[in-house]
């Protein structure tokens, strides 16, 4: 289960705070959301569209929703998913069936209801019209966290997407439809170039690096490789991290990652300070 991060969560929330303005928070709400569509995309991947009028219009690129799959009675926790697309008062998720939660979700039908908490997290910085050219890097369903960023970016760039095989390459046509160039890699060579996603990225950066900025979502080894490439070329990079999550709203402290501080490092929350972090903030070695 991956999420995205997006848009800066305001440090002061207006609106729903009934008690007093909290010092740190994201403008989240909990709402019942009716399923409009829930269909298989390819292989184990599904697309879910729900009506969530209190959440959908406020989602920023890279943010996520925390979903309570109501038919699950003995698996208690919500599941976090990056928001893939928004349209009016609806939002879409792109998910992979990997456990009892997502399998139960895949069995749900239009008309049934989910409980959504969102929008959550601190997402990607949307590029400025005169800013760097964005290079997006996705592993598998990491693509879901990057679509809104591509859609809302005033600058078009390149998307690098990788997976094990053809079935893991998702929503390629949708990125192309936005006018972005998509470079595909698969480990078995069944689609696009054979290899891992960071190889064509490395080649592209060797050809031309200045003025580029990297945005990535995918497995941790891929994110670390993207961070190394950014460091080698002196480029900025925003990485959306995935970590086992409990509450999604910053209280359980399960989803922490080591983040550098002035005096060393501390654990910060993927759900609140993240999921998107500047790669230079992450103290990978502290987690080993």
């Amino acid at each position: 289960m991956t999420r995205g991060g997006a848009a800066r969560a305001p440090k002061q929330c207006a609106g729903q705070a009934r008690t007093a303005p909290p010092p740190v928070c994201a403008p989240m709400v909990e709402q019942t959301a009716q399923i409009i569509a829930n269909e298989r995309d390819t292989g184990p991947y599904f697309r879910l569209r729900v009506r969530a009028p209190l959440i959908a219009p406020r989602v920023q690129p890279g943010q996520f929703v925390h979903v309570r799959i109501l038919p699950l009675k003995h698996a208690l926790l919500r599941r976090p998913f990056s928001v893939f697309q928004v349209a009016g008062d609806t939002l879409s998720l792109l998910y992979k069936t990997i456990g009892q939660g997502t399998e139960a979700l895949a069995r749900m039908r239009p008309g049934e209801e989910l409980s959504l908490l969102g929008p959550l997290g601190h997402g990607f910085t949307v590029p400025r019209p005169d800013g760097e050219i964005p290079l997006l890097v996705a592993g598998g369903y990491g693509m879901a966290a990057l679509y809104l960023l591509a859609q809302r970016s005033p600058r078009k760039g390149l998307v690098f997407v990788g997976g094990r095989q053809r079935a893991d390459i998702l929503c390629e046509a949708e990125f192309r439809a936005l006018g972005w160039e998509v470079r595909v890699t698969t480990e078995d060579g069944s689609h696009g170039e054979k290899g891992v996603v960071t190889e064509p990225l490395r080649a592209e950066l060797q050809r031309r690096a200045p003025g580029r900025k990297l945005f990535a979502c995918g497995p941790t080894p891929m994110l670390r490789a993207v961070g190394r490439l950014a460091a080698e070329h002196g480029l900025p990079a925003e990485l959306s991290l995935d970590q086992h999550m409990g509450c999604g709203i910053g209280v359980c402290l399960a989803c922490v990652v080591p983040i550098k501080t002035a005096g060393g490092w501390e654990y910060q929350r993927t759900c609140t300070e993240g999921p998107v972090f500047d790669f230079r903030q992450i103290a990978w070695e502290a987690a080993e």
Binding site: C13, G15, Q16, A17, R18, T19, A20, P22, P23, V24, C25, P27, M28, V29, E30, R68, H74, A75, L76, L77, R78, S115, L117, Q243, H244, G246, C247, I249, G250, V251, C252, L253, A254, C255, V256, V257, E266, Y267, A287
Partner: protein, 315 residues
């Protein structure tokens, strides 16, 4: 209809609180629910210095429960006062501050620091965290040490003291009595239960800490039995907790002898739970023609229950 209860010297507007460690510092939930409807806000455990916490994975979901090994990550007493107290101080309902230490002296020092704040409702002494090597559970599984910790805090503050007991003991009675004798005004029963999970694919324990504390609906019957036993052994009030996720769960604890209850793990997946239980208690009292929630405390004890033919079924 009266829902107000007393926990030691602390007046709660209703008997439904939240469990330390499941509600952050209150502020995180302020957008999702009106904190001033709760019986009290109970914050995550604080010690003297900031605490980094355990490596990840820190949490694993199991059937009808969770196992956590967070390791009491927190800002320390100064960080708490600076970052969170200004918000908590404005609440109309009491704030109960959960504290812990690695020595008797540290417990007392933190109690003294918080005694100096104005507006604290009570201190809850965490002598039962299963995830801390030094401190935490060692104080809760040795009656002599438990007595020392409570007595040292008693000497350090006039605030009501609530001792949160460990379930990981042969009998809870001597611990409940030791806390009472040393000056605790109330008990919280229970903390999470030591547990673990193994990933059969990697063939390794799931949690980086190997073991953690089990919480959620799966521990409710265990917690209920401990409340039942302690309630008959002490005169001080008990806050019952362990897997509460609906009104019937809360009623079970009250009928077993708890004066108040705390919603814990349910806050993670259903943040409205505590407020729903408060509404549910009101409805139950209306249906049962009860004027005062205190009439229910301990009513399940021998001889105090109702004949089966007189029962009204509640959902």
């Amino acid at each position: 209809m009266n829902l107000a209860v007393q926990i030691g010297g602390l007046a709660l507007p209703n008997p439904v609180t939240v469990a330390s460690g499941t509600f952050g510092y209150g502020v995180e939930y302020a957008q999702l629910l009106d904190l001033n409807q709760l019986g009290a806000v109970v914050v995550k455990g604080i010690r003297r210095d900031p605490v980094r916490g355990n490596p990840t994975p820190r949490l694993v979901e199991v059937t009808s429960g969770l196992i956590n090994a967070i390791g009491l990550q927190g800002p320390g007493v100064d960080g708490f006062i600076r970052s969170y107290w200004p918000f908590l101080q404005q609440l109309k309902v009491p704030t109960i501050i959960n504290i812990w230490g690695t020595s008797v002296e540290e417990y007392a020092e933190v109690a003294r620091r918080l005694d100096a704040l104005s507006g604290v409702g009570a201190l809850e002494l965490n002598v039962s965290c299963p995830n801390i090597k030094e401190g935490g559970a060692q104080f809760g599984t040795d009656p002599a040490l438990l007595r020392q910790v409570v007595a040292a805090c008693r000497a350090a503050t006039r605030l009501p003291l609530i001792t949160k007991l460990s379930p990981n003991v042969v009998s809870i009675v001597p611990y409940a009595q030791a806390a009472e004798a040393a000056g605790s005004d109330a008990l919280s029963i229970m903390n999470s239960y030591p547990a673990m999970a193994i990933d059969v694919e990697t063939r390794r324990p799931v949690l980086a800490n190997v073991t953690g504390g089990l919480s959620g609906p799966c521990i409710k019957p265990i917690a209920l039995k401990l409340v039942w036993e302690a309630a008959q052994a002490v005169r001080i009030p008990i806050i019952g907790m362990g897997g509460i996720q609906n009104t019937a769960d809360a009623l079970e604890f009250i009928m077993a002898g708890a004066t108040a209850v705390a919603v814990g793990t349910a806050n993670f997946y259903a943040p409205q739970t505590a407020l729903q239980i408060i509404a549910g208690l009101r409805q139950f009292m209306r249906q049962e023609n009860l004027a005062d929630v205190r009439q229910l405390i301990g009513c399940a004890r021998a001889g105090k229950g109702r004949a089966p033919e007189a029962t009204v079924r509640h959902p």
